[in-house]
């Protein structure tokens, strides 16, 4: 009885957070009365919104997005393969380090690269020839965003590789050694597709970076309509294709791909790297880490002039707000995903759909949908839309981190909990939580970091009067106060990340 109440409240909560705003969003496109004049007006309006320029921008954006997705797919594929099918030292550490680029806010990432290659750049100073490279072009955008998104592709491809267990591999070895890639790619296809679409959606979420590089994108058009002209209606119309896109892809993904939640085979020890692989994999890892971590870090160190404390002290209040807010978000999101996975596990399909749908919803969509909804119920200007937005935005990641953990909570284990339980809460804390705790902490930390550095959604939904550290950095960037940005990045992004990788290193040593 108790668990049924929890289930019901959970469904209601999801409806309130996600379904209701979306329904409202769709409803506003249906004219209140349908007559000749209204239809004419609507027609004119649609023609006005989707004009030639917009369509051109859309095509360009789409092309850029596809390129970014393809590149991050390729870059993510290589480490995923080695991490799942080869043994080597410091595996956990390398896995964690390769995930870090995703945790650095893309705008800071690009900022650092501008500091490296651009006019103010260290690079141009090192070379006396004044060799500043023009990076205000689409190629640079593809390069930066692929480097920033590839960890997500890596994550998905790893999940796909985990389907290819010893049970599948052993017969291949016996019957057809060369069949490995044929079977692997076949089993991997859905995961490759999803990874592709998820990075595409991440690309559509990103409007700060393109605008730095002076590239006009579809998402910036939405942003301009919403945040500069306050034209919610036009923004809604521009958002509509993205919503429909994410719905369709979510349905497709849901159809073709099941995120496996089986226990990884602990006894499966993959073979060690052979010499040639060693050279390739280590150089690959070093190159990627230099490009995505070492260079940004050095630029931040140099530009901050090592003054880490003062800018932080100046923004003390904002810093604490951010810490508090991110803690709140990371706890509530992780908690929600755990409750969902535990209490709705019998509705695996629903959970999968929720995962894909939230994962594929680009940030501008969230911004527009939640703005319209919360304006309608007169709660805009509060912090609620932002909380809602962040929970929806980060929920899929938490679900992704937790799902494999809940694979360990098998049916028979769960039955024994029910027979021998002494209250549902005790069981949860004494049995379920200890079993899933690694994923739980990982989710807490990761979402904290993601939320701390997030600026796109904050820019759309933050109520007046409130500031977060990420937005603060964005503003400082606008005014060209590079030193402050660099030192704030160091203290707020790199120190947590350093702790995070130390943790991974420690865990790697212990095992």
């Amino acid at each position: 009885m108790e668990s049924r109440t929890i289930k019901a409240s959970l469904i209601i909560l999801i409806a309130l957070l996600l379904v209701l705003p979306l329904t409202y969003f769709f409803l506003q496109f249906i004219p209140q009365r349908i007559d000749y004049q209204v239809l004419i007006f609507l027609y004119e309006f649609v023609k006005f919104v989707y004009n030639k320029r917009i369509l051109k921008v859309f095509a360009k954006t789409f092309f850029l997005g596809v390129s970014v997705s393809l590149f991050s797919l390729i870059v993510g594929f290589i480490p995923a393969y080695f991490l799942e099918f080869r043994s080597f030292r410091l595996k956990n550490f390398i896995r964690a380090s390769l995930f870090i680029p995703f945790l650095i806010p893309p705008y800071l990432f690009v900022f650092s690269w501008l500091g490296f290659l651009g006019k103010r750049g260290l690079f141009s100073q090192i070379h006396f020839l004044n060799l500043s490279i023009d990076i205000y072009n689409p190629l640079a955008l593809i390069f930066f965003l692929s480097l920033s998104f590839f960890p997500v592709s890596m994550l998905f491809i790893s999940l796909g590789f985990r389907n290819i267990t010893k049970k599948i591999l052993n017969p291949i070895k016996i019957f057809n050694e060369k069949g490995f890639w044929k079977i692997t790619l076949l089993l991997l296809k859905p995961y490759l597709l999803i990874s592709f679409f998820v990075t595409l959606s991440l690309f559509f979420s990103e409007y700060i970076v393109p605008s730095y590089l002076r590239i006009n994108t579809y998402q910036s058009e939405i942003f301009v309509q919403l945040a500069t002209f306050y034209d919610v209606r036009k923004a809604s119309f521009l958002t509509l294709p993205l919503v429909i896109f994410s719905l369709i892809v979510a349905i497709l993904s849901f159809k073709v791909c099941k995120i496996k939640t089986e226990i990884p085979d602990k006894k499966f020890v993959p073979p060690h790297l052979i010499r040639r692989e060693k050279v390739f994999f280590y150089s690959f890892t070093v190159i990627v880490l230099v490009l995505s971590l070492i260079i940004p870090l050095s630029v931040f160190l140099a530009e901050s002039k090592l003054d880490v404390l003062n800018p932080l002290l100046e923004t003390k209040g904002i810093f604490f707000t951010s810490v508090l807010f991110s803690t709140l978000i990371s706890f509530s999101t992780t908690f929600l995903s755990n409750v969902i996975l535990f209490y709705l596990r019998s509705s695996q399909k629903f959970v999968n759909f929720l995962l894909f749908f939230t994962l594929l919803m680009p940030t501008p969509v969230l911004g527009v949908v939640l703005t319209t909804f919360f304006s309608a119920i007169k709660l805009n200007g509060t912090v609620l839309p932002l909380i809602d937005g962040y929970v929806i935005k980060f929920l899929p990641f938490s679900l992704l981190f937790m799902m494999p953990e809940y694979g360990k909570v098998t049916k028979s284990l769960e039955s024994s909990i029910r027979i021998f339980s002494r209250g549902s809460l005790i069981s949860f804390f004494k049995i379920v939580l200890p079993i899933v705790k690694e994923g739980f902490f990982f989710s807490l930390i990761t979402i904290f970091i993601l939320c701390f550095g997030e600026a796109s959604l904050a820019q759309l939904l933050l109520p007046p009067g409130l500031q977060t550290i990420s937005l603060r950095m964005e503003t400082l960037l606008h005014y060209g106060n590079y030193q402050a940005v660099a030192s704030l990045s160091l203290s707020t992004v790199f120190i947590p990340l350093a702790l995070y990788s130390l943790y991974a290193l420690f865990k790697g040593v212990k095992r």
Binding site: M1, S3, K408, T410, S412, L413, E414, S415, S416, I417, R418, I419, F420, S421, R422, S424, K430, I431, P434, I435
Partner: protein
């Protein structure tokens, strides 16, 4: 005569496959009843239905003369207060042997007695993954015997045990039954396990109980089956 566990016209489907097709079974108080039938015939399903881990698609189940499952009643496993050994054990991977028992009961004396009876005292600080198959099975049995209940369900509790251990475990189960005045349902593939444990054996066929016999009769039938001359 009132029964302690009854299943009346119980139906259970998994997807399109109908596993139980109107099965009825009555168990008297204090009785030990065996369930016998080919693999996949639905023995575990029956235990799960009695424990409340599955819901029947039709029919009625009563425990201690109260309906616990019917068209409009369903009592959750937490409220049925039964003890159980699972076919796939269902141990908790992060808990040691002793912690398993402590989770079930606060009675330290009982815990140490059960550990001793099942020969697990020396292994009490180990995790399930550090145990052999038979040891794990004994942990699962120990956990069940630590929870005092008047209904005990055993799903192939001896499958990983050698003959000597079987005898020891059977004795422990009998002690438990006496102490708690329990009614016991036990599933096994071995006729010999029924001989010295069960009062009656129910034989499952085509989703129903095809007959109920004394264990000796079942053994005789078996002997006939195995010792008849092969036809040429």
């Amino acid at each position: 005569m009132s029964y302690y566990i009854t299943l009346h016209d119980v139906r259970k489907k998994f997807g399109k496959i109908e596993v139980l097709k109107g099965l009825s079974l009555n168990v008297k108080k204090g009785e030990i009843i065996g369930l016998f039938g080919p693999s996949g015939s639905g023995k575990s399903t029956i235990l799960n239905l009695i424990a409340g881990l599955e819901r029947p698609d039709g029919g009625r189940i009563t425990l201690r003369n109260t309906t616990v499952a019917s068209d409009n009643v369903f009592v959750s496993p937490e409220e049925r207060n039964v003890s159980m050994v699972f076919q796939d054990l269902g141990l908790w991977p992060h808990m040691t042997v002793e912690e398993h028992l402590k989770f079930v009961s606060d009675d330290r004396r009982l815990i140490s007695v059960v550990l001793k009876q099942l020969g697990l005292e020396k292994k009490k600080d180990r995790l399930p993954e550090e145990l052999s198959g038979g040891e794990r099975q004994r942990v699962s049995i120990a956990r069940a015997l630590t929870k005092p209940s008047d209904i005990l369900l055993l799903d192939e509790p001896f499958s990983f045990l050698d003959l000597k251990l079987r005898e020891r475990v059977k004795k422990t189960i009998k002690d438990y039954k006496k102490k708690n005045e329990s009614t016991v349902v036990i599933v096994s593939h071995s006729v010999f396990d029924f001989i010295d444990l069960c009062d009656r054996v129910a034989i499952l066929k085509d989703g129903k109980i095809s007959k109920i016999e004394k264990p000796r009769e079942l053994l005789l039938e078996f002997q006939k089956f195995y010792y008849r001359k092969p036809k040429r």
